[in-house]
Amino acid sequence: MAERVMMKGNEAVAEGAIRAGCRYFFGYPITPQNEVPEYMSRRLPKIGGVFIQAESEVSAINMVYGAGGAGGRAMTSSSSPGISLKQEGISYIATAEVPCVIVNMARGGPGLGGLTPSQSDYFQAVKGGGHGDYHLIVLAPWSVQEMVDLVGLAFDLADKYRNPAMILGDAILGQMMEPVTFKSEPIDPKDLPAKPWATVGLSGERKPNLINSLGLLPEHLESINLRLQEKYKKIAENEVRFEGTDVDDADLVVVAYGTTSRVAKSAIDQARKDGKKVGLFRPITLWPFPTKQIQELAAAGKRFLVVEMSAGQMVEDVRLAVNGEASVEFFGKLNGAIPTVEEVYREIMSRF
């Protein structure tokens, strides 16, 4: 029988990473994600891995750059202000095409903000975050089980495309506890596909591998950018993931991800009992965004209500997808509190 255990989101993302073959973790403490490094610090040394609490977030992300460049499955985790500090390193990693996983258990901002859950790092996660034209693959779990499932996928996609991937959670997804099933056997890093590009030392049989993000000559920098954009196009074509519930016959489609999609699901279930034709569209990949699927829903005559714990960030991507062909309304919470089921239910009902 598959192994079942009761876990917090933070513990689950750590255990999921280990089971996906991650053996290198570098981080710096920040609430509300401290259980991730704590879990890694207990487990990794016992299984031949490396855990380092770096002297800063800047240091931690550059250690990830190094370990990922040497071919290991490497991860770091932090929360909003800490992720901001890592942005320079993330831009370098994306440009150097080094696979790695970055976990953001987002908290309320801007500034030092608070410790409560928030979705106001959406722009930072999906639009680049650091400098230059680059993208992370961004996955948004909505349960503790998906912390496990999506962190495994994040490592696979990161390796497949040689691109950093991010798990975008929030304080409540990190802290809440739910049953988790580990469906597959843990991966032994030795069984992972070889990475012939990695800098693992030479024994004279090939040219040196080089990993950097420098493009001083204009033609060289342009070729790096063209290669990256070509790759992003391929990722956008192949890796969009989403989930639709009760969408087919719906007049109103609620678009939400992560925690707010859980709240929205409960509110939609209530509104359905009242006979309202409402459904849930939940992007699982925030980048690449399910633009085409939302376009199709708009073309089919549906209206949209976007629910976020932000002043309205993902709603911009929904509007871009809809391109003026349908009404897109927004309901957001800014005070660090999760919207209640009652609040979202009322927002839905007021639109019928």
Binding site: M6, L115, P179
Partner: protein, 222 residues
């Protein structure tokens, strides 16, 4: 035997001790006791007793936690009211102690008051949590908490659950693990929790049920 007025509820991180402490305090209150709840969880600012302070206050339970205004901060502050409670002896005190040895360390500061009168020190265990999966692990956890808090455990609480996915077979599995842990530690099994998320298992073993209403669980959790 007279029930001691001081009850300490401890346990590994995420074992469910806050829900147990809240429900136990409400149970005492329903019996007409004057109850103070002490939120000693200085490890983690989420899912704490203080989150439902207003509700508990309306039920006639005074909640003592970090200094007011700092509830949402991760600042390990303890209220001077705790000493007041320990000295006055007019109240029953239920202590919700933070997870793991780090959280239990806060208890050490009040050690001398616990030397002066009897107390209950119950350790909440959910064998479906990582690191308390079997009797040996549970024993190690209890001993670490005892060492950090400088108090002696007086009983175990069986909080076996996998949330809404709990089956009666899971509960029976937990019961076995808890019995062998209790035997290994030489401690009684004082309560077995039962929430509306889990169906009760079959079979009697003399351990009383502590019915749980879950106050920390988000409404949108299935």
């Amino acid at each position: 035997m007279v029930t001691p007025r001081l009850t300490v509820i401890a346990g590994a991180y995420g074992s469910g001790k806050t829900e147990v402490a809240i429900n136990y305090a409400l149970r005492l209150r329903a019996k007409g006791k004057n109850v103070n709840m002490v939120d000693l969880d200085i490890v983690n600012p989420f899912f704490r007793t203080r989150d439902i302070r207003d509700y508990l206050t309306r039920q006639g339970i005074q909640v003592i936690s970090s200094n007011e205004g700092l509830e949402a901060a991760d600042i390990p502050a303890l209220s001077p009211k705790i000493i007041g409670l320990l000295q006055s002896r007019d109240y029953d005190g239920v202590f919700d102690v933070g997870g793991d040895p780090a959280g239990a360390t806060a208890m050490g500061r009040f050690n001398r008051y616990f030397q002066e009168e009897p107390y209950s020190f119950w350790v909440v265990v959910n064998p479906f949590r990582p690191d308390t999966r079997d009797a040996e692990q549970i024993k190690a956890m209890v001993q670490e908490i005892e060492k950090a808090s400088r108090l002696q455990a007086t009983g175990l609480i069986d909080n076996t659950n996998l949330g809404s996915a709990t089956t009666p077979e899971d509960r029976l599995h937990g019961r076995k693990v808890l019995h062998s842990a209790a035997e290994l530690l030489g401690l009684p099994l004082v309560w077995r929790t039962l929430s509306n998320l889990c169906p009760p298992e079959n079979g009697e073993d003399q351990v009383p049920y502590l019915p749980l209403t879950l106050y920390m669980r988000p409404e949108w959790m299935e």
